[in-house]
């Protein structure tokens, strides 16, 4: 072998570490992936007597305007803080002050994306929301 192309013992060990670590990282990744896949989806059930305006239910925000109900994730689209406050008809994120209108549209930054709208259906006097 050409002397120039020879790798040192130290370099060999370094590459060996990468080769050894790679399958472990793969196994770690797969383990987490399978664990998350095995998890069940959460449903939030709220009695179907939502007041007009904006109401907060832990991870979910319900906006009811003229009888039209919309469900949103309460997590701010900026950094995921849970929104639990309303001011002047707007939802306000307590962490960095982002504001969203009743349709989940940001009216003041730093958030620039709409709140994630959630699907729901009415069942036996309840609103069932997939979170």
């Amino acid at each position: 072998m050409d002397k120039k192309n020879k790798i040192s013992r130290k370099e060999f060990l370094r590459y060996t570490w990468v080769v050894v670590a790679a399958p472990f990282i793969f196994i770690w990744g797969m383990s987490v992936k399978r664990y998350r896949e095995a998890g069940t989806k959460t449903q939030v059930r709220i009695a179907d007597d939502i007041p007009n305006g904006i109401s907060f239910y832990d991870e979910v925000v319900i906006s009811k305007q003229a009888g039209d109900i919309k469900a949103f994730s309460a997590h701010c689209t900026h950094l995921g803080c849970v929104i639990n406050n309303e001011e002047n008809g707007e939802m306000v994120c307590p962490c960095h002050g982002s504001r969203f209108d009743a349709n989940g549209k940001p009216t003041k930054g730093p958030a620039v994306e709409r709140l994630r709208q959630l699907r729901f259906e009415k069942q036996d006097g309840e609103i069932v929301i997939e979170v």
């Binding site: 770690w28 990744g29 987490v32 998350r36 998890g39 007597d49 939502i50 007041p51 007009n52 305006g53 904006i54 109401s55 907060f56 997590h75 900026h78 950094l79 995921g80 803080c81 849970v82 639990n84 406050n85 309303e86 001011e87 002047n88 008809g89 306000v92 994120c93 307590p94 962490c95 960095h96 002050g97 930054g109 730093p110 958030a111 620039v112």
Partner: protein
């Protein structure tokens, strides 16, 4: 001098930074072991709360853990900088240096996981932010976030990483770096002493989960400020990793470049500290700007020494109750307090949710610090009644409601003072300045705004003004009154004596409304049949027929409203959306109040709604009242579209009203046939005919007296100099009529002399000395609330100078030479300024060139309310002329209601003499 400085420095920096950091780390690790005993990872926030209340010894370990961690962080950073200053990075092997750089991240990780483990509102939000930020790392972000923080609100994985993964890593790094984990005995003891002193005096923070102020740990408040400015928060990671990368590169680059980078790091640090100070002191609720001196928060450096030696209270048999996921120490002393309405049971909502204070302290003084004795004032309603889980939508509405803004009152006052041209603009009492009108309002008018705080305990009385939610909902029963008396006997110092709490209920009685609504339009007193006089209590030798209010005004009894006589309360007609507002801003009362007489008194069944169609608020009222909804339909308000929740229609289509307070059932009567049988009077509102009397005051003079002591009704303080009102007579009679006239139609309504007044504006700070008095003759639309079953007779309008607007006097129809003419002799002298009788609204003058009618809408307190035009007066007086000969029940008059009146007049005989105008 230099020696002294060195001595002082050696006291503070008693060893190398690294050694102090190591000692702090050891104390932190050991105190953490002891803290783990009372800490419960399945209920972290509750377990810390309980610790704070019942276990001052565990609190010491918690504080020691906290303060040693802060010292560890500070001295680790100083240690790093010390190394960099001395170019120490050059002396470290590359592998070790890499691990040291990584350990900086681990130090912050162990700190933030400790912060998150307290599981309060701040911590849970910080966890979300951490997760979102880590997820933004390309390729492995998602995996890393899940592996470090776990899922959802479960903190188990974070706990493991905090006490094991990160801690072990740091131990390894410390040993590799300094060859030992132990610090010198003296250094350890000195550090322990500092930690102990700090731990004794300053409590590790825990959010009360009530305040909306959310802040990260102090070392990340600067990052929070940066994130506030970043719509793409991933860039903050670039900043963090850039600094770490620069650190990693330092041993590998030239000395010159190294110096530049170190300066860069230093300036970045200074900038970050600046942002930290801004974030910590100048950011409030919703991360909005505030100042530390605005008085809302005073606990920046609030010492809370541990009370080891206190006399221990007896812990209740069932432990300290958990309320809304929080342990509340209040229950230790106040567990036996009764009197609450079921919805406000403290076992459901706690004490702190209304009263604030420190629910994590069993020490009375500390628990009561910053407590709100009387919650529910609008200034604190968002933190009490209006918190997220209670009534946030209602407090939002009340903020905008007229009882809080007083828009109409202010708009009209600005208009009469010449400070505004419009009577339709929105105003708010909270924006009053120092103009002549604003000062006039503050001296004479605005005390009733709902935001005026209730400052003394006790029931709502005739003297109460404002009070926020309490104004309507606070109720003291007999037991509560007795308990309150005992409390007052103790000078209000020992709340434990007050065993019966007043209740907050839907029992809104007429007495709640009385304080404010017995003034100005005086609808509360009118409704009960009381008319204000200018007598004093001393003037009445025989008090029968009189009523002396608590404010010593004397009222005489006339006739009560027919609804009062039947037993109806104010809230039986006025629903929650018009009392507390519907969320919209209104300029005047008649816009916010949408209930109509016709909603209950109809000849054809109006639109109804089933129970399932009711809005949530109406359903809640319904259920709290315990009414039966079976087989019932509810009447929908014609104008508001909101259900009249206390009405119902049965299977037989009969309509009823339930008394909201009394529970009595009232049959809703159809209007008389007279009211509906033809369209002649379709523009005439019910109250125009059915109002028995309305209070009138004829003329007042307003002058500013700089030497007289006055009262600022908004600031609630006495002050020198005040506007004074000198009033004329107080009268009561069937009201004048005016017309709401706009694109929506015409509506004849009662009108009262709202503002026949002079204002000596030049008297106000002598700013406009020499100017003539301002004079106004404005009538105001009114609903006097003195309804009688029988309406006014025909003459009461058509032949009545007061109804027509000429004022009191003799209105006669004279016929001579087959010519008829109306003649009016006023009771009052003509005013010197406009030449009209003092109490008149319009002149008795039918000539076409009368200036007064050129802008007919300029004579009232509304842009769309006016007196009768000349043509309308002529028509009314023509009927009036007929009535001088023909009885109103005669066929001639009754037929005139069926046939077109103009055609009818064409058929009259020669013996009829019609008026010549």
């Amino acid at each position: 001098m230099a020696d002294n400085f060195k001595n002082i420095k050696s006291l503070i920096i008693y060893d190398t930074y690294g050694a102090i950091a190591s000692a702090a780390f050891l104390i932190c690790a050991v105190s953490g072991i002891f803290l783990a005993i009372p800490y419960d990872i399945s209920a972290p926030y509750e377990s810390i709360g309980e610790m704070l209340i019942v276990n001052p010894f565990a609190v010491f370990f918690r504080n020691a853990h906290y303060w040693s961690a802060q010292l560890f962080l500070v001295f680790t950073l100083l240690h790093i900088w010390d190394h960099l200053k001395q170019s120490g990075e050059k002396k470290v092997r590359p592998g070790v240096w890499l691990r040291l750089v990584i350990s900086v991240l681990v130090v912050f990780f162990v700190m933030i996981t400790g912060f998150i483990l307290k599981a309060d509102a701040d911590a849970l939000q910080a966890r979300q932010i951490m997760e979102s930020l880590i997820e933004k790392i390309p390729l492995i972000g998602d995996l890393l976030a899940f592996s470090l923080l776990g899922q959802g609100k479960d903190l188990q994985l974070i706990y493991v990483h905090h006490i094991a993964t990160a801690t072990i890593f740091l131990i390894v790094i410390i040993i590799e770096h300094s060859k030992t984990i132990w610090s010198k005995g003296a250094t350890f003891l000195y550090t322990l002493l500092i930690v102990s002193v700090l731990s004794f005096f300053f409590q590790s923070p825990l959010h009360d989960n009530m305040s909306q102020v959310m802040k990260g740990p102090w070392y990340f408040v600067g990052l929070q400020e940066i994130l506030h400015w970043l719509s793409s928060p991933g860039f903050s990671l670039v900043l963090v990793f850039s600094i770490l990368f620069i650190l990693y590169l330092l041993p590998r680059i030239s000395e010159r470049k190294s110096k530049i980078f170190k300066k860069l790091i230093l300036y970045t640090f200074y900038l970050y500290m600046g942002l930290t100070i801004i974030g910590y002191f100048f950011r409030g609720e919703n991360w909005e700007w505030r100042t530390p001196w605005d008085g809302k928060r005073t606990d920046y450096f609030d010492p809370k020494p541990i009370l080891f030696g206190q006399n221990y209270f007896e812990i209740p048999e069932n432990g300290i109750p958990t309320i809304n996921g929080r342990k509340e120490s209040c229950m230790i002393c106040h567990i036996d307090v009764e009197g609450f309405s079921p919805a406000h049971n403290p076992l459901a909502i706690g004490c702190v949710s209304c009263h604030g204070g420190d629910s994590f302290s069993a020490d009375k003084d500390r628990a009561h610090r910053n407590m709100t004795v009387i919650p529910g004032n609008l200034s604190d309603s968002k933190r009490s009644c209006g918190t997220t889980n209670c009534h946030p939508d209602i407090t939002e509405r009340v903020d905008r409601a007229l009882m809080n803004t007083l828009s109409g009152m202010i708009t009209v006052d600005h208009f009469v003072f010449g400070e505004s041209d419009s009577l339709s603009i929105l105003n708010d009492v909270h924006h009053l300045g120092n103009s002549a009108a604003d000062e006039h309002l503050k001296n004479l008018c605005v005390i009733c705004h709902l935001g005026n705080p209730k400052t003394e305990t006790g029931p709502i009385t005739e003297l109460s003004r404002g009070g926020g939610c309490n104004a309507c909902h606070l109720n003291y029963n007999e037991k509560a009154m007795l308990s309150h008396s005992l409390y007052q006997e103790n000078n209000g110092t020992d709340t434990a004596n007050q065993k019966i709490h007043p209740s907050l209920t839907l029992q809104v009685t007429n007495d709640h409304c009385f304080g404010c609504h017995s003034r100005s339009g005086r609808i509360s007193t009118n409704y009960e049949g009381w008319h204000e006089t200018q007598l004093t209590a001393d003037d009445i030798s025989d008090s029968s027929g009189f009523r002396v209010l608590e404010d010593e005004r004397v009222f005489t009894h006339l006739s009560e409203d027919v609804h009062h006589k039947a037993g109806l309360d104010c809230i039986d007609c006025h629903n929650s959306y018009e009392v507390m507002g519907d969320g919209k801003l209104y300029a005047h009362e008649e816009q916010q109040v949408k209930i109509k007489c016709e909603d209950c008194h109809f000849d054809k069944l109006p639109e109804t709604m089933g129970f399932s169609e009711l809005d949530n608020e109406s359903k809640l009222i319904f259920s709290l009242k315990g009414w039966n909804s079976e087989g019932r339909r509810f009447i929908k308000g014609g104008e508001s579209g909101i259900v009249l929740v206390n009405t119902f229609v049965n299977d037989m289509d009969s309509a009823f009203m339930i008394g909201k307070n009394s529970g009595n059932i009232f049959k809703l009567n159809a209007p008389s046939e007279k009211c509906t049988h033809n369209g002649v009077h379709e523009d005439v509102s019910c109250s125009a005919c059915h109002t028995a009397w309305a209070p009138r005051c004829i003329g007042c003079h307003n002058v500013y007296e700089p030497e007289t002591e006055g009262y600022d009704m908004f600031a609630n303080r006495f002050k020198k100099g005040t506007w004074v009102e000198y009033t004329g007579e107080y009268l009561a009679m069937a009201p004048t009529l005016g017309i709401f006239d706009d694109e929506t139609g015409r509506d004849v309504k009662p009108a009262v002399p709202g503002m026949i007044m002079t204002i000596d504006k030049s008297s106000y700070e002598n700013k406009e000395e020499g100017e003539p008095f301002l004079f106004h003759r404005l009538y105001a639309p009114a609903e006097p609330h003195t309804i009688i079953k029988e309406g006014r007779n025909c003459k009461s309008c058509h032949n009545n100078p007061v109804a027509l607007g000429y004022g009191e006097g003799e209105l006669d129809y004279l016929i001579s030479n087959q010519k008829g003419r109306w003649v009016f002799n006023s009771k009052y002298e003509n005013n010197m300024i406009d030449g009209l009788p003092e109490d008149a609204w319009i002149p008795f003058d039918f000539s076409d060139n009368t200036e007064y009618y050129k802008d007919i809408f300029s004579h009232s307190t509304r842009d769309n309310f006016r007196p009768f035009t000349i043509e309308e007066q002529k028509r009314m007086l023509t009927v009036g002329a007929c009535l001088t000969c023909h009885d109103e029940k005669s066929d001639i008059i009754l037929n005139s209601l069926i046939i077109d009146f103009k055609d009818y007049l064409g058929e009259v005989g020669t013996e009829c003499v019609l008026p010549d105008f």
